[in-house]
Amino acid sequence: MAILQRLNAAAKDKIFSLQEAFFLAWNAIRFIFVRPFYREDMIQQMDAIGVQSLGIVVLTGFFTGMVLALQSAVQMARFGATTYVGSLVSASMIRELGPVLAGLMVAGRVGSGIAAQLGSMRVTEQIDALNVMGTDPIKKLVTPRLVAALIMLPLLTVINDVAGMFGGSVIAKFYIKLPTSVYWGTVWDQISSGGFLFRIVPNDFVHGLFKPFVFGGIIALTACHFGLRTTGGTEGVGVATTRTVVTSSILILVVDYFITQVLLALLPR
C-alpha cells in the first residue's frame, strides 16, 4: 500500500509539474503580445543568450566541421569520392549538427544560467517580491528570455553552420588538398539539390532554421520552469540547474527526430 501511495504521489507530482509547464508556456507566449513589453530585459537577454554564446558556438561549429571533413575524407577515399566532402559537411551541419549542437551548447551554457538565476530569485523571495509589487513574474522574467532564445538560437545556428563549413574547408584544403572552389561548389550543389520552399528558400535552410527556433523555446521554457519551481534553498538551485540541462538536452534530441520526420514529409525533394 505504501508503495502504491508513493507511486500515486509521484505520478500526481509529475502531472502537476507538466500542467505547470504548459501553463507557463501558454502564458509566456501570450504575454509576447500583451503590454507592458519589457524591451530592455529582452535586449539584455539577447546579449546573454546570443552574443555571449558566440564564442563557444563558433568553436564548436568550427571543430565539428573539421572532424566531419576528416572522418568523411578517410571513409570516402575508399570510393575515390573525396571531392564530395563539402557536400557531406554542409548536409550534416545545416540540417542536423548545426541546430542540435548549438541547441545543446546553449542548453548547457544559457539554460543552466537561467535556471540558476531564477532559482536563486525564488529561494531569496525575489519572485514573491515581484508578485507582491504587482508584477507577473512570467511576463517580467520568462517572456523576455523566451523571445530572446527564439530569436538568437536560429542566428547562433547560422553562425555555427558557417563556422562548421569553414572548418571543413580548412581540412579540404590542407589535408585532402581539394581546391577551395571545388569544396564550396559541392556545398552549394548539396544545398540546391535538397529542393526549395516556394522556389526560393532551400529546404536545407528550412530544416536548419525551424529546428533551432523550436530548440530555443525548449531551452528557455525548460530553464524557466525548473528555475521558478525551485525549492529547498541553494541545494534546490543546483538540482534545478541539473534538471534543466538534462531535460532540455534530451528534449532537443527527441524533438529533433520528430521535426525531421515531419519536415521530410512536408518538404519532399
Binding site: S120, T124, E125, Q126, D128, A129, N131, V132, M133, D136
Partner: protein, 310 residues
C-alpha cells in the same frame, strides 16, 4: 416663560380689606417666586440635559468615527496537506499595527500571503478596505497588491538592480512619473529610512549590511505610498541596535504616515513596542488578540509560557 411670570398681575404690592385674600394670594405669589426659581431650575435641567445629550452625541460620533477597518480576516481557514489556519479572525484599522506572534510553523507568514492574495482561503473572508479579495482574478489581485508594501525576511532586493533601481521599481512599473520625479521620490524614501541617498543609491544589494538591506526593503515597500505595510520577520537576524532601529522605523510609519501594518515576528520585545494589538497564533487559531498591556496582564498559562517572563 420668564416674561409670563413677571407680567403676572398678582405680583404687585397690596393693601385694604382684601389684604388677607391678597396675603393669601401673596403667599401663593410667594409660592410663585419659588416657581420662578423652579423655572430656572427647569431651564438649568434642560440645559444640563442638552449638554448630556450633546456629550452622548459626541460619544456616539466618536464611536462612529473609529478608524475604518483596512484589513479584515473573518473566520479564515486554510489547509494544504494538513490544516494550517482554522477560523482565524482579526481586524486591522487604519493606522494600527497588528503584530502576529506565535511559534514557528504556526502559519504566521501564511496570513501575510492571504492578505496579499498569494493564497486563497478555503473558508472565510479576507477583506481589504471592505472588499473581499478571495474571488479576485489574478490581474485584479495584482492591482490590489500595488497598494500594499511588503518587507521580506531577507529583504528580497533584486540582485541585478542597484539600490536606486530597487526603490524605483514599483514607481516605474505602476506610475507615469517622470524620471526626475522617480529619483526625487526614491531619495525621499531612502531619507525616511535614515539612509543617505548620495552614498547608497548606486550600490548593489550585495554591498549592503543586513540592517541596510531591511531599510532599503522598507523604502522600496513605501515607494508607491501604500496604505498597508506588511512585514515578515523584520528584525530576524539583526543585532539588538539594528533591531531597535527597524522597530523605531515601523513605529515612525505608524505615527507619521498612519500606515496600517501587519508585522509577523518572533521578537516579543519589538512586538510589544510597536504593536497596537498583538495576535497570538497557537494551534491553528488566534488564541489571544489584544493590546500588549492586556497580553502581559493575561493569566493564561500558554501566554505566560510564550512570553517567558517578558
Amino acid at each position: 416663560m420668564s416674561k409670563d411670570l413677571s407680567d403676572d398681575p398678582t405680583d404687585g404690592p397690596t393693601d385694604g380689606p382684601i389684604d388677607d385674600e391678597r396675603r393669601a394670594t401673596d403667599r401663593r405669589t410667594s409660592d410663585r417666586v419659588p416657581d420662578e426659581v423652579h423655572a430656572e431650575r427647569v431651564r438649568a435641567a434642560i440645559r444640563k440635559e442638552i449638554r448630556a445629550d450633546e456629550r452622548a452625541d459626541a460619544a456616539t460620533t466618536t464611536a462612529t468615527a473609529e478608524p475604518k477597518a483596512v484589513i479584515e480576516l473573518n473566520d479564515v481557514s486554510l489547509a494544504f496537506d494538513r490544516p494550517i489556519l482554522e477560523n482565524v479572525s482579526f481586524t486591522a484599522r487604519e493606522g494600527e499595527t497588528i503584530a502576529v506572534v506565535g511559534e514557528s510553523g504556526t502559519g504566521k507568514s501564511t496570513i501575510l500571503k492571504l492578505i496579499l492574495r498569494l493564497l486563497v482561503a478555503d473558508k472565510g473572508q479576507v477583506c481589504i478596505d471592505g472588499r473581499d479579495i478571495s474571488g479576485l482574478s489574478f490581474n485584479e489581485a495584482l492591482e490590489i497588491r500595488q497598494h500594499v508594501g511588503m518587507v521580506f525576511q531577507g529583504a528580497a532586493l533584486f540582485d541585478s538592480l542597484t539600490v536606486f533601481e530597487n526603490v524605483a521599481y514599483p514607481l516605474r512599473e505602476h506610475t507615469d512619473l517622470e524620471e526626475d520625479q522617480i529619483v526625487e521620490r526614491a531619495r525621499q524614501k531612502l531619507e525616511f529610512v535614515d539612509l543617505d541617498p548620495d552614498q547608497i543609491m548606486t550600490l548593489s544589494p550585495a554591498e549592503l549590511s543586513g540592517g541596510m538591506k531591511k531599510r532599503v526593503g522598507v523604502a522600496r515597500g513605501l515607494a508607491a505610498n501604500p496604505q498597508i505595510m506588511l512585514y515578515d520577520e523584520p528584525t530576524s537576524g539583526l543585532d539588538p541596535l539594528t533591531t531597535g532601529t527597524i522597530t523605531n522605523l515601523i513605529m515612525k510609519l505608524q505615527h507619521e504616515l498612519s500606515v496600517t501594518s501587519v508585522v509577523v515576528t518572533h521578537d516579543i520585545r519589538s512586538a510589544f513596542r510597536m504593536a497596537s494589538k498583538i495576535a497570538l497564533l497557537h494551534d491553528r487559531h488566534i488564541s489571544f488578540l489584544g493590546t500588549p498591556e492586556e497580553m502581559s496582564a493575561s493569566e493564561d498559562e500558554y501566554i505566560k509560557t510564550f512570553l517567558g517572563g517578558f
